[in-house]
Symmetry: C2
Subunit: 251 residues, 2 copies
């Protein structure tokens, strides 16, 4: 018996709603395989086309992934907000280094002690390369930021490419190793410059500054780069524009 059509609700929406609830409530846990298209067709007494439309919605919501030969797998048990980054100012998440050059001051290989392990989110003793440098404007006449970066030892090879580069480090890693950032965690806080920091930045002690810490993670959620940048307030404002994507609700 065909399930009766609810007023104003397309059939695929009914199915999508039901499956969404099952996923959000945990009846299907993350990693579980949903019933096959054929099974859903039988269960809801709808055509395969309609079933696929329903599953397409779940996919658009980021709840499931689909693979031929495998099935429909639950990817996430909550619906995340989606943003589209617009504009291309110097300070955009991925473009903040545009028109700037990175001059290396110091490079060392380290094994993470307790402090570093906490910062980097790794176990004690893990091997990293540490780098200290300044970002200067393309002409080289103004220091914009002081940066400490930690790079997983695996990608040590980029160290040679960094001095004088006008690209972010993660981008150098990408072109050399093919590692793309899949997730970026950032913390932005306010601070005042210490004597030593002010010296490197040709600013005054006590001046306000923005401290931006970014963790770059691979698809497998391994941290492979951490960058901590210090931007004197008068030379830098972090700004971005986010456009909210209007996701078609399943209901």
């Amino acid at each position: 018996m065909r399930s009766s059509r609810v007023a104003g609700q397309p059939r695929y929406a009914v199915v999508a709603q039901a499956l969404t609830e099952d996923i959000l409530s945990g009846r299907y846990s993350v990693g579980a395989i949903l019933p096959s298209e054929h099974a859903l067709c039988t269960q809801f007494d709808i055509s395969r086309h309609t079933t696929r439309e329903a599953l397409r919605r779940l996919q658009a919501l980021g709840l499931v992934t689909r693979r031929a030969g495998v099935g429909t797998q639950v990817k996430s048990n909550h619906i995340a907000q989606r943003y589209v980054q617009v504009g291309d100012t110097i300070s955009d998440l991925y473009q903040y280094a545009k028109d700037m050059v990175l001059n290396v001051l110091e490079m060392t290989d380290i094994e993470a002690d307790a402090d570093a392990a906490a910062l980097l989110g790794c176990s004690k003793g893990q091997a990293w390369s540490k780098l200290r440098g300044v970002r200067v404007t393309d002409g080289g006449d103004e220091v914009v930021a002081l940066m400490d970066a930690y790079i997983a030892r695996t990608y040590r090879g980029v160290l040679g490419d960094i001095d004088g580069a006008d690209l972010p480090i993660w981008s150098l890693i990408e072109s050399r190793y093919g590692v793309v950032p899949a997730e970026v965690r950032q913390q932005i806080s306010a601070t005042t410059l210490s004597r030593a920091e002010a010296e490197n930045l040709s600013a005054r002690e006590g001046d306000p500054a923005l401290r931006i810490t970014r963790h770059y993670l691979t698809e497998a959620l391994d941290v492979y780069e951490v960058a901590i940048s210090l931007y004197p307030a008068e030379r830098f404002t972090y700004s971005n524009t986010l456009r909210i994507e209007h996701l078609a609700s399943v209901s």
Copy 2:
């Protein structure tokens, strides 16, 4: 005559690729209406189902919008990077006010002078309501932020709801007027507290603080709320996690 199938390329991908190039190159400008599904079916000699699959891809890339009775309209002439916000910390873009209460200090109606017009991105003389308040923790024992907000006079009605609210103002406007933010522009900068600011925040003069300015815009890109918040550094770090969406390329 049916267009021959390129090796490894589904038919819909060929169509999607062709249309994408036409949009990116500007042959179809933003706002233009693409040929109808029927026309594309004839042009490429494919079924309507295949045509719709191609257009679905363009939609997923954010290049077009589709409306029944109208057609497929070009929305953007470039492919933007997509981020998905994950996590739900206190400082997430839309959740930063969680577990906090807003206490109003002062409310006034203003007409924008030159300074205000520049800040709000409106013409001089436009009518706004200005509000000064502090965000305190739920228990009320700690001041977390000092906030100046400007609300378009049209939504003046929310002013009565604000004192003591534990929601962001835009959220109050949404529930009362049905206005949803479609775009948010934010600037984050570092500063040090002035004497007066420190007093309101029970902090010390010269302490570092984060100044976050947010413009909330409607779908039509009208600014309807501007919030400027001052967070003493030791009580607040702005942090968020962005997951990069792997958009299926059309090719």
